[in-house]
Structures are given as C-alpha cells and as structure tokens.
C-alpha cells in the first residue's frame, strides 16, 4: 500500500519537472520497481523464515513442545495445485546439466542442505541432472548394517520425530502436541494391522511413567485370569506377548533418499494412496491437519520374525514420487483424474500369495524422487 501511495506522487512530481509525457516514464519505472519490491519481499520472507527456524530450534533445545495451530497459510496451501507444482519441479530438476556446471550445482546444493558429497558413489560430473544426483547411491561400506540379529535398523537417513507403542483398536500417532491421526487411516482400512489391546498410544516421553501402571494393570488382569480359568492362564503364559510399535522419521532435502529394509521380512501387500502433496516440514506438521494421512504415500505390509511389519513412505511437494525397486512399474505422482482424493487406495498383493517378496535386512527397497 505504501508503494501504491508513493508511486502516483513520484510520477506526478516527475511529470511536473519534465513538463509532460508522464505515462511513458511511469511505465518505464513500473517494471524495475515491481521487481525490486518483489525481491525485497522475498528477501524479507526468507529472513523471517530463517529467524523462525532458529527460534524453533532454540525452543526445542530447551524442551519446549510446539502445539498444533492451523493457520491461514495452511488453508491457502490447500488451494494450490501442489501436485502439478511437484511435477513441474520434477521436470525442471530432470533437465540435463552441462558437464562443466554439474560439480558447481551439486556442491551448492550440498552446501545449502548439508549433504556429504564424499559418500556419493560416482564422481559429481557423472550425475546428469539434479534429480539423478538427489537419488544417488552411496559408496560401498558407507552404511554398515547393525550385525545384531536382535536389532531393528533404521530404513532411512533422517531425524526421529516420534516413536512409541500403539495400543487399542483405534490407536493414534501424535502428529504434534494437540493433534493425532489414526494408524489405520495411515496404512489403509484393509490393513493387516493386528489389534493389540485396549488403551491409547503410549508415547516415548510417557513410557517411564506409564511403565509401573502398565505392570500393575498386567498384574491385575493376571489375577483375574487366574481366578477365572486355569486353562486361559496356561495359554497366556505359553505364548510370547507382542506389542505394536511405531517410529516416524523425517528426511531433510540434503539426506540420502533411499529406503532400506529394517529387518528380514516378507512383503505381502503394497498399497498406493494418491493424495495431496503438502510440504512435510516442521511448520507444516504444526499447521496442516492429517498431513501424513492426506499426502500421497506407498505402504508396504508384511510379516517378519516377530509378527506384523509396515513401512509407509510419504511424499511431499518437492519429493513427490516414490520408486519401488521390488515393483519398478509402479508410478506415483501421476496427473490427478478425480477432483477428490478420497478414493480407496490401489492395492497389489505380491505373489506367491502368503509369501510375497522376501527382503533382507539392509536391502534397498525404494527411493524418493524429486517431483
């Protein structure tokens, strides 16, 4: 509004000095003026974002937990054609870069997003496009797999957002304090997800406090079972009990973007949800409701030595498509055919039925692609 008020005044002043021809001179200054204003605005927004990020980081170090607060920007994001934007971004990043320019571009990317270039499997000038570089493999031995047969390993490079134990039929995962989403919405209504017991999600932060009450509760139910039926008691003590756990890992743009198998397991089903492609950054998790449940994702379900296993890979605006190495023909982030995203997921049962595809611990399963 300041610019709108100022501009006619300066044009009029110039007209009075030059004695005419005010329109043409005004138009000549309009474009550079608008460009400068836009650049200033973008610079200010970037500075504000850096400042906000720093504040978030400082607060997290002090142990402050952010609460869910939907805002106008989140509502505005819903109106943007994010899937189209994502595909255009994918197209642009797939453009071949001249060989002499490649190392400069990739070094700049690595500096901006803190990637370790020494881990790249190939020399930088061999990655034809930013997209190729982004989904690069790593040098042999860069990611040793934990040899303990009783360990479950991380499937990705990233930051741990949440983890804990799930309880009850309607088990929920906390997106951020004040808002949770149900596991069955994330994995699909037809999921093989086992229902464990009554109760709520047991977050990592409350584990210690709830441990004693949990033990107390199990003692009580044990007492009740003992009185009720000795046969039931025998069954319970003979079967090892299984809990249902979860872990949410966020991948920053500079992270290695391939997904590996966390354990030896058999993948029985693949489910593809063609949803939105909202950004998945820290701010988005605080302001967009059902972020992980609404975004496009691929869910792999199956069995391992200890029971059920599911890996959900969730796309974002910049990293919109997911490539499955066990099913190369799968295409995600396709142009939208329907106006609404609420249709059922596309499901594929791997053959032979009941056995599916066997994966070894640490084996490459999928990759996130740009756009």
């Amino acid at each position: 509004s300041w610019y709108a008020k100022q501009f006619p005044t300066t044009s009029q002043a110039r007209a009075s000095v030059s004695g005419g021809n005010s329109d043409s001179q005004g138009n000549a200054f309009l474009l550079p003026g608008a460009t400068v204003a836009t650049l200033l605005m973008l610079g200010a927004l970037h500075a504000r974002r850096l400042y906000d990020d720093k504040k978030v980081e400082d607060a997290r170090e002090k142990g402050v937990e952010f609460e869910f607060q939907p805002d106008v920007k989140a509502a505005f994001l819903r109106m943007l054609p994010l899937r189209s934007i994502s595909r255009v971004w994918g197209f642009l990043t797939n453009v071949e870069i001249p060989v002499w320019l490649r190392p400069h571009v990739y070094r700049a990317w690595a500096r901006a997003f803190r990637s370790n270039l020494e881990e790249a499997a190939l020399p930088l000038d061999e990655y034809a496009s930013l997209r190729d570089f982004f989904v690069r493999t790593l040098r042999e031995g860069c990611r040793p797999i934990d040899p303990d047969p009783y360990s479950l390993v991380s499937p990705v490079d990233g930051t741990i957002l949440r983890f804990g134990e799930l309880k009850g039929a309607g088990a929920m995962i906390e997106q951020v304090k004040g808002f949770s989403y149900s596991v069955s919405s994330l994995l699909g209504a037809s999921s093989l997800l086992p229902i464990i017991a009554e109760g709520h999600t047991q977050d990592d932060s409350s584990t210690i406090e709830q441990e004693s009450s949990q033990r107390e509760k199990s003692k009580k139910s044990w007492w009740r079972i003992s009185l009720a039926s000795p046969k039931v008691r025998e069954t319970v003590s003979a079967c090892p009990m299984k809990g249902l756990y979860y872990c949410v890992i966020y991948l920053k743009p500079g992270d290695y973007h391939r997904i590996h198998s966390p354990v030896d397991w058999n993948v029985l089903v693949r489910r593809h949800f063609a949803g939105h492609l909202f950004p998945l950054n820290e701010r988005a998790t605080r302001t967009i409701r059902n972020l992980y449940v609404e975004n496009e994702r691929v869910v792999l379900e199956g069995l391992w030595q200890q029971g059920y296993m599911a890996v959900a890979a969730i796309g974002a605006t910049n990293i919109g498509s997911i490539e499955l190495f066990i099913e190369p023909e799968l295409r995600t982030n396709r142009p939208r055919k329907k106006l609404l995203h609420s249709g059922p997921p596309e499901e594929c049962v791997y053959k032979p039925e009941g056995v599916g595809v066997m994966l070894k611990k640490g084996e490459e399963v999928a990759a996130f692609n740009m756009g």
Partner: protein, 45 residues
C-alpha cells in the same frame, strides 16, 4: 519426505517367564539416524 514404521515386537514380560524380553528403542526424539543403525533391540529368552 517422511517414513513411518509400524511393527510388532516382543512386549511386556509374561507372568511365568520373567526373563522374556521386551523390545526397547535405542533412540531419542530429535536424534539423527542413518540407514543400518539400530533403532531398537530385544533379546530372545
């Protein structure tokens, strides 16, 4: 992008066998983790 892992693992000890192991995460919220690093462990009884 984000990856969510949901899995079954051994949990609370059964009343008869107090040595039975439960799964324990070896991570904390906000930790940086890399492919192949252990997220949690359990022990066979």
């Amino acid at each position: 992008s984000t990856v969510v892992l949901v899995f079954q693992a051994p949990t609370l000890k059964s009343p008869k066998n107090s040595n039975a192991s439960e799964f324990r995460f070896s991570i904390r919220r906000g930790d940086r983790i890399r492919v192949g690093e252990a997220m949690g462990r359990w022990h066979d009884s």
